[in-house]
Symmetry: C2
Subunit: 329 residues, 2 copies
DNA sequence: TGAAACTATGCAAACGTTTGCAGAGAGGGT
DNA sequence: ACCCTCTCTGCAAACGTTTGCATAGTTTCA
């Protein structure tokens, strides 16, 4: 039923080699026959079977993306960028969600390895030893995580944290809580690194958590924060921050008057919350595109001098109404 | 470099056929040899090449999902369900985002056709004629759209609308606006069908739009609604509803006192808005899973009596603070 | 004891491509 | 008239699997 290269060849009165070449190496076949082949192919509705092609070329024309949790609005936006750029480069994209589970993530990479030319790992949660088992099975590009000299797109989490600290310090906060995200998260580690900026201002940092990087993690975190008596908090991401704000409202703690709140990611919800959330915006979609660029580059150039293996994007603190000067106590 | 079935055969001292059978038809090979083969395979880290397998079996073990817009939070949740169920059934998933563009959507199906066993079309925007060109190229399952007798998972949009109308009628609203979503959307057509429920209550419906089903569509819609002088509105989806509420707030129209607002989808943001949004909740993740079930079923059974080709899920009105009795004028 | 019926395995063809090699013309220079 | 080169095309092998058919060995039964 599906039309193959054989059908086109027979119909066009040429050999399969010619048909193949008409598509893949146009300058090897006479312009006239090439047109003829292309037309009959079009007429018959022929689309080359990429699996068969991949079998011989070793290239599948696919790659994979693995994200920790699709229901976290952070990821769909970077997926969108991946998607768009992939289509431009004529690649198809396998998607998988590992549910924040590192072992599952590793299994997914291994399962994908044979069907793809490379995999993009978004905020990978894998342990170093799991990574070792996986590096080399296929080309990898990381987003939001730097592991040795593997290609990576980074969104400057430490710099983002420094901006947040600068902002809170400028407002006069002297004792600030940081709500940790998942332990396995590289972004979280980087953000903690950024916390050192506090030393400049003699600001005291109280670390709490880790918490689930979701709205549901907020209430627990909020209660701990209140008990600490800080005047401001920085949450691992916006979802967590929103959950915290919700609980603070329930407990009668006014934001921002009694508690300033800063998030990360600038998800769409952040701007619509009450009060609108001050947050560090990332260039998600651009990161997705950059990751594809890196991967494509990696696959096309000889491999020796792949050139730049890292792309650093900057992020931007968006000040909204959830932060202000601390209450005089 | 990658280890093939040949390597395993040589290493295990058997023929490739035996290795192949050890994996795919275990009862055809002696338990003892089978164990031996499986062990050497494991030791060598062999994973069958699915493309090569697909070439001969005609089954790829993949399928595709196409969504109109990843940045609409409605879709990632159904994707999550698709993902989870697909992995259980040992399928890999191609993802594509057609950017609300029907022509692109069609092209994507055609491009995928050869690499997948079937495609799940989520809220497909294709025209009937585009659909004709695509039906038959591969197995299709629709979510949120019914086209002739193709397999489909429906989330009861008409019934959802009836619940919304009942609710507003009970509150005493007599003149209500409906803000249309994309013209090409089947859900939108179905919801309009549900509007007939209004007749029961002598309620007048004012239809406006279509509007982009995004936050950005809201302001324009809000201004039109205010000009109509209705006491309540039902928006095509939550994003649009939130956009409307934002503009209403800017224009000094109090929600819900001067205007009741109902959305569709119950995206996470809905519950966190001010005021929290009354909305019709869908079972997105379950819909995703159901779609995969349908597809798998379609592919495994002979095809003749595929049994149930439709799955109807019900939805549920969630009443929050954005709706109340109309102001006495 | 021999035929019949299984059981377990191997051989080789097929799936739809790409690609190295070789051959057929055509054209050009001597 | 010859050889060389160049352009275009076809043949056939390969890629990593699955699977129909054949074969060899083992069991069953009369």
């Amino acid at each position: 039923m599906p039309v193959t290269i054989q059908d086109v060849a027979r119909e066009a009165g040429v050999s399969v080699s010619t048909v193949s070449r008409a598509f893949t190496v146009p300058d090897l076949v006479k312009e006239e026959t090439r047109q003829h082949v292309l037309q009959t192919a079009e007429r018959l509705g022929y689309r080359p079977n990429r699996a068969a092609r991949g079998l011989i070329t070793g290239k599948t024309g696919n790659f994979g993306v693995i994200v920790p949790d699709l229901s976290n609005p952070f990821f769909p936006t970077v997926l969108k960028g991946v998607q768009a750029r992939a289509r431009e480069a004529d690649y198809a994209v396998f998607l998988a969600d590992c549910d924040e589970n590192p072992a599952e993530e590793m299994a997914l990479v291994q399962a994908m390895a044979k069907q793809v030319d490379g995999v993009i790992l978004c905020s990978s949660r894998m342990t170093p030893s799991q990574l070792d088992r996986v590096v080399g099975t296929t080309s990898l590009v990381f987003i939001n995580r730097q592991v040795r000299d593997n290609p990576a797109v980074l969104m400057g989490p430490a710099a983002g944290m420094r901006q947040a600290i600068d902002h809170l310090a400028a407002l006069g906060h002297r004792r600030v809580a940081y709500l940790n995200g998942p332990k396995a998260s590289w972004s979280n580690r980087e953000r903690r690194r950024g916390l050192r900026q506090a030393a400049r201002y003699a600001m005291e940092i109280v670390e709490l958590g880790p918490f689930a990087p979701r709205f549901e993690g907020g209430p627990h975190a909020a209660d701990l924060v209140i008990a600490e008596g800080v005047t401001a908090l920085i949450a691992f991401n916006d979802l967590l921050a929103l959950g915290v704000m919700s609980r603070l409202a329930d407990r009668g703690v006014a934001v921002p008057e009694e508690m300033s709140v800063v998030g990360f990611d600038d998800i769409p919800m952040a701007g619509m919350a009450t009060p609108p959330l001050t947050t560090v915006a990332m260039q998600n979609e651009r990161a997705g595109r950059a990751a594809v660029d890196l991967l494509v580059n990696l696959l096309t150039v000889s491999g020796a001098d792949a050139g730049d293996l890292r792309r650093d994007l900057d992020c931007q603190l968006i000040v909204r109404a959830s932060t202000t000067v601390p209450a005089r106590s």
